[in-house]
């Protein structure tokens, strides 16, 4: 059988579409894990990034910490965390927590750096006039700075989402769940259909995530800014801007 036939056979085998190791279950695990990790990364990184961008205090520290997180190789992070989480929980400490922690740590830098750069990049005259109009600090941030910086903020979340979905796959190497399991098992069992089926599913999920977030990002541009902002947003959008 050719590789294509093997892949199609594996992907269309009804047995692979049911049960605890079935494709819907694995996709569900992958998406749920990634979504939780993204939500936690946003919850940690966004407030810090907004605050640092607004006050311009602690920028060097925040950006350096974020860069440090980025320099950590994912696999190293997962294996370092594994013995610790496994000591706490015999089940999830192996299958879920190590990957989850790695995903959060890797998701924080792009969100934090983009939030900081986006907010700090808002024209100071606009911020001054907002203050002059009597807006309180929270209103300046919420009504002026955030809407203007939204495409940049969304760009950071998009980078983080891509990275997190990719990392979930990698977690399977050290016992994690999700679609990466098919790759690891396929390699171990020398099953080309399973390997390629897994590759197709993983690639589809990653590209879908990237596409979805690109779409959200495009819709998030404040209507008042839509036309003139487009070129600027495109330039700033790729994840980690110059000062990172």
């Amino acid at each position: 059988m050719s590789l294509v036939e093997q892949t199609v056979t594996w992907l269309t085998d009804p047995a692979n579409w049911q049960g605890a190791a079935g494709i819907p279950t694995r996709i569900g695990e992958h998406v749920v894990l990634a979504a939780i990790a993204l939500a936690l990364a946003v919850a940690v990184a966004l407030p810090i990034g907004l605050l640092v961008g607004h006050t311009r205090r602690g920028a060097a520290l925040a950006v350096n910490l974020a860069n440090l997180g980025r320099a950590l190789p994912t696999l190293a992070l997962i294996t370092i965390v594994l013995p610790v989480t496994a000591a706490f929980d015999k089940e999830l400490g192996f299958k879920v927590y190590p990957t989850m922690i790695a995903m959060i740590v890797l998701g924080i830098p792009p969100i934090l750096v983009n939030a900081y750069v986006g907010i700090a990049g808002v024209d100071p005259e606009l911020v001054e006039s907002a203050r002059g109009m009597g807006l309180r600090e929270a209103q300046v941030l919420g009504r002026v700075e955030v809407p203007i910086a939204l495409p940049v903020l969304a760009g950071g979340i998009r980078s983080a989402a891509s990275q997190i979905v990719a990392t979930t796959t990698l977690g399977a190497i050290f016992g994690g769940v999700g679609l990466g399991r098919y790759l690891v098992e396929g390699l171990a069992q020398n099953d080309n259909g399973k390997i390629f089926g897994g590759v197709v599913l993983v690639a589809a999920l990653c590209l879908a995530t990237e596409g979805l977030f690109a779409l959200i990002q495009a819709r998030l541009v404040s209507p008042g800014l839509a036309a003139p902002a487009r070129g600027w947003a495109n330039r700033t959008q790729p994840g980690r801007p110059a000062s990172a």
Partner: protein, 227 residues
């Protein structure tokens, strides 16, 4: 918790794996740079080819490393160095292509006109004028690609014990539930990434003495990373 005696007994192995890690990464960065440089020159001469090239490189970059390695196994074999290097090279292309093109784009038009006015041929202008001025962004790309490749080399450990560089220790540690071995892989790995980055910054300062160190080079990094 940490078995120091065991670490002491495995320093030879550590040296071997560190060197393996470096050459696996160096091949990928070297080959990736050569391919990307060609593609970048092509993109600069013919603007229309850049968007599709960047899109293909972007799609490759979005696919997780484990999936790309796995996809090549049925084609090039499990223990082959080719299975390790093709994805590693593929991942560097997006980083290099973007940074090299951005580097050439950053050369001011009046500089190009001045070079033309002085009678430079196209090729001479490229090597003597455009390339030196593009160096900061090109080196930023090399730094990014190198650090990311050093991280990704660890994943090649899944292709067998003959590969993986320092990642070998991580796989072994997992198989034997032996945290000490994790540290033998992870700590030198991080040190390696930082040291290589610092060395590259030094090299850039040497190559571009006209740029003051206080004025950091632009670093247009990219949206996603393959993990």
């Amino acid at each position: 918790m940490i078995d120091w005696a065991w670490i002491g007994d495995h320093l030879d192995e550590l040296a071997f794996r560190t060197i393996q890690h470096l050459y696996l990464a160096a091949i990928a960065v070297g080959v990736g740079f050569a391919i990307s440089f060609g593609l970048a020159i092509w993109s600069i001469r013919r603007r229309a080819v850049y968007p599709p090239l960047a899109a293909i490189a972007g799609v490759l970059y979005t696919i997780p490393s484990l999936a790309l390695f796995a996809a090549l196994v049925p084609v090039t074999g499990l223990r082959s160095i080719l299975t390790a290097e093709v994805p590693l090279v593929a991942y560097t292309i997006l980083i290099f292509l973007r940074n090299i093109v951005a580097g050439f784009d950053s050369v001011p038009t009046d500089v190009l006109e001045a070079a033309d006015g002085m009678g430079y041929t196209r090729g001479r202008r490229l090597w003597r004028v455009e390339l030196p001025l593009a160096i900061p962004l090109v080196v930023a790309g090399i730094r990014l690609a190198t650090v990311s490749t050093i991280g990704l080399v660890t994943v090649t450990g899944i292709l067998g014990d003959g590969l993986g560089g320092l990642g070998f220790f991580l796989f072994e540690a997992y198989r034997h539930s032996f945290p000490t071995e994790t540290l033998l892989g992870a700590i030198p790995l991080m040190i390696l990434a930082v040291v290589v980055d610092v060395v590259l910054v030094r090299i850039q300062r040497r190559l571009t003495p006209w740029i003051q160190p206080t004025q950091p080079a632009d670093d247009p990094e990219i949206a996603t990373a393959a993990g």
